[in-house]
């Protein structure tokens, strides 16, 4: 049994960091006895022991593995529209997820119904209440596991090719006890701040002249503190925590032809202090509002274009997130096949998937990048496995996958990337995905290269994507003339920007990395450079243009 020393970890929020560093110097090796001082862990361990030793349906096998994960989520959200608050929500919930496995590490009950039961758990430290929720979920999970195991045994008899890997990996047990997280935000102040942000379209003198064109203007703040307790029958005892905060602004209008035009701005961090000061956020929001007017007046993009395309680092991060985040994870393939995993890189192990000047690594241990905190960072994953830095793509070749405790061929162990949303089952996921280019270019060099390519091919213009909206839909797209002049255009969608394009059409990449934090159920981060593609498609989206407002907004 190894023990993770807390001092190795740099906790997300600064105040937690200080606390952990101080306490871990005194007690570097937490033990089960330390864990049992926490009433939640003590109740979990008591019920785990009781079920491991006693839970058995007559004539059936006992579980070989039980895991309890309890998540305490404190959540605060406030939203506003048109300059006034629509109200706030504060929730505090504790959700347990119980996983019971029968069979053995080679073949067990996992897959489908056998994968765990969620249950609402009490918020108090009352051990009987916590154990009662775990007890009822364990009973249900065990019965589900028995049924799933029987079904899997039957399915295995239907196929000739045996599974390519074990069902469950052996991992070293750890004991790691980080301090719990609490949500501390000034709720009233945020509600007011958000109200002001949503009213900038009419209160800011530089944009208020166009206020009647704005069809919606909303702002929101979301803060979340999560404490996770996890115990397994293998001896792992884990308490970890995370805090995430996000402020968003969004506004929209329609062009004269009815086309919907939307802009939004988001900042996030692992502490409130990392969010932008109000004035800076307001400045960005006003820029977005101003860009709506520019977009309204922008011409429609040409019908179809094939040629060089430059994606800013911001747009590059969104694009790489869409194309790579799912592809680099390894999940169990369909039974009876010889496949290694699923998805676009299922058969790409050791093959070239990117140009040789690009490397990709996922390292959840990186907490900040150029002073910006990374939401996707963590120390131990949601299966109790310490996070590892994984070199996924080296000089363009796929050298590894991100994996949890569900092995695939050639990857018998977890690399600490089994992650779960609240009450959900673990799945391999990126943490902090960093895409970097060897001898990357500056923005100026990239732009120069783009216009050079235009000249070489005799193109009148080329395209530059500043920001993306939905998948493959640019929000700010510029046509760049032979003279280098930029013109904003609207109504475009990108085509042929896929994994094949990344492999064979990626001409160059930037040296600066953009930090894109994704505040999802499972927070993730992508660090990515600007991307210059040799050949991509830009064409009209041809979305349905809705009617303009039937009558003018109120004075």
């Amino acid at each position: 049994m190894i023990s993770l020393c807390c001092s190795k970890k740099i906790a997300a929020a600064a105040w937690i960091c200080t606390a952990i560093t101080a306490s871990s110097l005194l007690a570097a090796q937490p033990t089960r006895a330390d864990a049992e001082k926490d009433p939640v862990l003590k109740a979990m361990l008591t019920e785990l022991d009781r079920n491991m030793s006693q839970l058995q349906l007559k004539g059936f096998q006992k579980p070989f593995f039980i895991q309890y994960r309890v998540e305490d989520v404190e959540d605060f959200q406030t939203k506003a529209e048109f300059g006034a608050s629509e109200g706030s929500q504060r929730n505090h919930e504790r959700v347990a997820r119980v996983t019971v496995r029968v069979g053995d590490y080679k073949t067990d009950s996992s897959g489908g119904r056998g994968d765990g039961v969620p249950m609402l758990a009490g918020l108090d430290g009352d051990p009987v209440a916590i154990r009662s929720a775990l007890w009822t979920a364990t009973d249900q999970a065990y019965k589900n596991a028995l049924a799933a195991y029987a079904q899997k045994q039957a399915e295995l008899k239907q196929v000739q090719t045996p599974p390519q890997a074990d069902d469950f990996s052996h991992e070293k047990a750890i004991v790691s006890l980080a301090d719990p997280a609490r949500l501390a935000v000034d709720e009233g102040a945020w509600a007011e701040r958000i109200s002001r942000a949503s009213g900038l379209y009419r209160s800011d003198a530089s944009v208020s002249a166009s206020q009647r064109e704005v069809e919606y203007s909303t702002a929101s703040f979301h803060g979340r503190a999560t404490t996770t307790w996890l115990v397994t029958s293998e001896g792992t005892i884990l308490r970890k925590s995370a805090t995430d905060y996000q402020e968003t602004f969004a506004a929209g209008t329609q062009a004269a032809d009815g086309m919907r035009l939307d802009r939004s701005y988001v900042t996030s961090g692992t502490s409130v202090a990392e969010l932008e000061p109000e004035a800076a956020f307001a400045g960005h929001a006003v820029d977005e509002i101003r860009s709506l007017s520019e977009l309204r007046n922008a011409p429609l993009v040409e019908e179809e274009y094939h040629g060089p395309l430059l994606l800013s680092a911001d747009a590059g991060a969104d694009t790489l997130h869409a194309l790579l985040a799912g592809a680099v994870t390894a999940t169990r393939p369909r039974m009876g096949t010889e496949a290694r995993t699923n998805g676009p890189f299922a058969s790409s192990y050791e093959a070239r998937v990117l140009p040789d000047f690009i490397s990709v690594v996922d390292d959840p241990g990186v907490k900040t990048y150029e002073g910006k905190s990374l939401l996707g960072a963590y120390d131990v994953d949601d299966e109790g496995v310490p996070a590892q830095a994984v070199n996924l793509i080296s000089q363009g070749r796929l050298t590894s996958y991100l994996i949890g405790r569900e092995p695939v061929k050639d990857f018998p162990q977890s690399n600490g990337h089994g992650r779960a949303g609240i009450s959900g089952g673990p799945r391999p996921s990126i943490g902090v995905l960093k895409v970097s280019a060897e001898s990357g270019l500056s923005d100026d060099d990239l732009n120069r290269k783009l216009t050079d390519m235009a000249k070489e091919r005799g193109l009148k213009s080329v395209y530059y994507v500043a920001t993306m909206g939905g998948e493959m839909t640019p929000r700010l797209l510029f046509r760049i003339g032979a003279d280098g002049k930029r013109e904003l255009v609207r109504g475009a969608v990108l085509g042929d920007v896929d994994t094949r394009a990344l492999r064979s059409s990626l001409e160059a990449a930037g040296k600066e990395l953009w930090v894109s934090n994704f505040f999802g159920d499972v927070p993730t981060t992508v660090l990515a450079p600007a991307l210059l593609l040799d050949d991509a498609t830009v064409k009209r989206a041809n979305e349905k243009n809705e009617k303009l407002p039937f009558y003018p907004p109120p004075e």
Binding site: Q56, A84, R94, L120, G122, L123, P549, F550, Y551
Partner: protein, 593 residues
């Protein structure tokens, strides 16, 4: 007025199979509440101003300069502003405690004319567009939000009206050619604004913990939960016909569930609700704890009870059971809109003036009544959700069907509303129940009713009659969209033997045949009425209702055994059943360090 149910949606489902974990319902910090009088003035004023602006500009062709559109002939804004507190406990511990404020607007747009409009037939739901409205008095923000909702509501109305007209051209003549919207006089009533809800959160959290702690005395209660929701709501209504209405509605509701499973795999549950205008009106803690204990005992008895056998014979419904029975089986079928439309059963459509119940029974729905005896009635209201004044409606007089529960959707023979158009926010109002009150002129003391049951069983040569002590209404056990929403599920049923043996509890009883048929065979009633307060879900959403009825003797009720699950009860005992906690591994080894 549109009611917003803050009751956790996860609990409306068949919750004991697995607690559905849904994002917790909206909750919030308290915002400073401005002077109530001023809020009324600003909100209602903005609603009225924006409504008239929309009516004057929509469809006049000058707005956007393009093709001429139809003008709406009716527009209404219905705003529900609620402050609420929700507390939930289970297994003796707090599971959730939240509270907040929200303002929701329903915008109703009608184009065409009252004879044929965008709400015709299947398009009815398209009449309402729903959105959250800013809190507070910011006129610009309020007006902009209403403008946004009116725009999309109008767009949807135009689209639906076009389809209604096309469909009208291609289909055969409808059976019921009533118009789509009744003509009614505008109403003005500026009532008081409900004060923000006041609940001592800490005290109630403690009380709810204590209530669920009682179940530790009953190790066979596998899951338990107590939920308190208290809500103070003010409803604002303005329409293009000139109605301006402000009315308050307050409600506190405590619901307790307990669940078990019998050895043979039958899921069994009991629930109990307590309702009052405010939390102060709920029963004392000692009384509630006593009720929990009764619930626990009943669950454990039920678990051990023998399974029912098919039976066709006399039965008594307790007052509470009869109230639920009448609400579900009769009340819903008397909703006006069920007499119109091809998909409807139209059970009573042709029965006006006919005997539908024994002549000693009468049924009225009276939302103007706020109490029955000392019990508060949760289905009371002053104005319905279409701005019509609430009124008592005598549905069945001396067994003869007189009328239906009417919204502004006319049906053949009934052209106007009788103040029963009700909806949850976001839904188009339909004819719904408020306080359904069943009265009888053939009453006997309940001991006599029991004697009559035994006599009737003997006459029919049956060894026993049945006593239905508790029936669950469909809402508690079905999904909101489930087709079996009006089903009744017997929870506690006793065999009353003719030979003097003690009464015997049975489980797994389900009523077969049309329950309606049983109503015609009511022989007599008890002399005391019982109140059932609850929430009722149907097409127009979940709304608070009450039903009041005396116990009833039915000469013939056909029952059979419920289909049951095959899942086994829990393998290990519930943790609270252990006399002491088993030692943890560390403690056993004696090396606590």
């Amino acid at each position: 007025m549109p009611y917003k149910s803050w009751f956790p949606s996860s609990l409306r489902r068949f919750w004991f199979i697995a607690f559905a974990i849904s994002p917790a319902l909206a909750c919030a910090v308290a915002f400073p509440v401005a002077a109530a009088a001023q809020q009324t003035a600003v909100l209602l004023d903005v609603m009225t101003t924006e409504l008239h602006r929309a009516m004057s500009l929509l469809g006049n062709g000058s707005a956007t300069g393009d093709d001429k559109q139809l003008s709406p002939y009716f527009l209404s804004y219905s705003v529900s502003e609620a402050s609420y507190v929700s507390i939930r406990a289970q297994y003796g511990a707090l599971a959730d405690s939240s509270g907040g404020r929200a303002r929701v607007a329903d915008v109703q747009v009608r184009v065409g004319d009252p004879k044929l409009d965008n709400t015709h037939g299947d398009h009815r739901a398209s009449a309402v567009n729903n959105l959250e409205l800013p809190l507070g008095d910011d006129r610009e923000a309020l007006a902009r939000s209403l403008w946004l909702a009116t725009n999309s509501g109008y767009s949807s109305a135009l689209d639906n009206f076009l389809r209604v007209k096309t469909e009208a051209q291609v289909r055969a003549k409808e059976e019921d050619t009533s118009p789509d919207f009744s003509v009614e006089a505008p109403q003005t009533h500026i009532g008081s604004v409900a004060p923000p809800v006041v609940v001592d959160r800490t005290a109630w959290e403690k009380r709810l913990r204590a209530l669920t702690l009682v179940f530790r005395e009953f190790p066979d209660v596998y899951q338990n939960m107590a939920v308190l929701t208290a809500q103070n709501e003010t409803d604002y209504f303005a329409s293009s016909e000139g109605s301006r209405i402000v009315t308050p509605h307050t409600q506190a509701r405590l619901v307790v569930f307990a669940v078990t499973r019998s050895e043979d795999g039958m899921d069994l549950f009991r629930d109990q609700t307590f309702e009052a205008e405010t939390v102060d009106g709920l029963p004392r803690q000692a009384d509630l704890e006593a009720a929990m204990r009764e619930l626990g005992k009943s669950i454990e008895a039920l678990r051990k009870a023998p399974v029912t056998e098919p039976f066709d014979g006399p039965a008594i419904l307790s007052g509470r059971a009869a109230a639920v029975f009448f609400h579900e089986v009769l009340g819903h079928r008397l909703e006006g809109q069920r007499q119109r439309g091809d998909e409807e059963g139209q059970t009573f459509t042709k029965d006006i003036g006919q005997d539908v119940l024994p002549s000693f029974l009468s049924v009225a729905d009276d939302p103007t009544r706020t109490r029955f005896g000392s019990t508060w009635l949760s289905g009371s209201y002053e104005y319905d959700d279409e701005g019509q004044k609430a009124r008592r409606v005598d549905l069945i007089d001396d067994g003869v069907l007189k009328t239906f529960l009417m919204s502004r959707l006319p049906i053949a023979g009934f052209g106007t509303s009788n103040g029963h158009g009700r909806a949850e926010t976001g839904h188009v109002p339909t004819g719904r129940q408020g306080n359904l009150i069943v009265t009888s002129t053939k009453t006997v003391p309940e001991s006599e009713l029991r004697k009559q049951l035994i006599d009737e069983a003997k006459k029919q040569g049956k060894p026993y009659g049945l006593y239905f002590e508790d029936i669950s209404s469909g809402f508690a056990v079905t999904t909101r969209n489930s087709p079996q929403a009006f089903q009744v599920i017997p929870l506690v049923v006793w065999r009353v033997y003719v030979d003097g043996r003690p009464d015997e509890l049975v489980r797994g009883v389900s009523i077969v045949g049309t329950p309606l048929a049983a109503m015609k065979r009511i022989e007599a009633t008890g002399d005391k009425s019982e109140v059932f307060n609850g929430e009722c879900g149907a097409e127009s959403g979940t709304i608070p209702v009450s039903a009041v009825a005396p116990a009833m003797l039915v000469s013939e009720m056909e029952t059979q055994r419920q289909p049951q699950g095959t899942a086994r009860p829990p393998i290990l005992a519930i943790p609270s059943a252990e006399t002491q906690s088993p030692l943890t591994a560390t403690e056993r080894k004696g090396d606590a360090q």
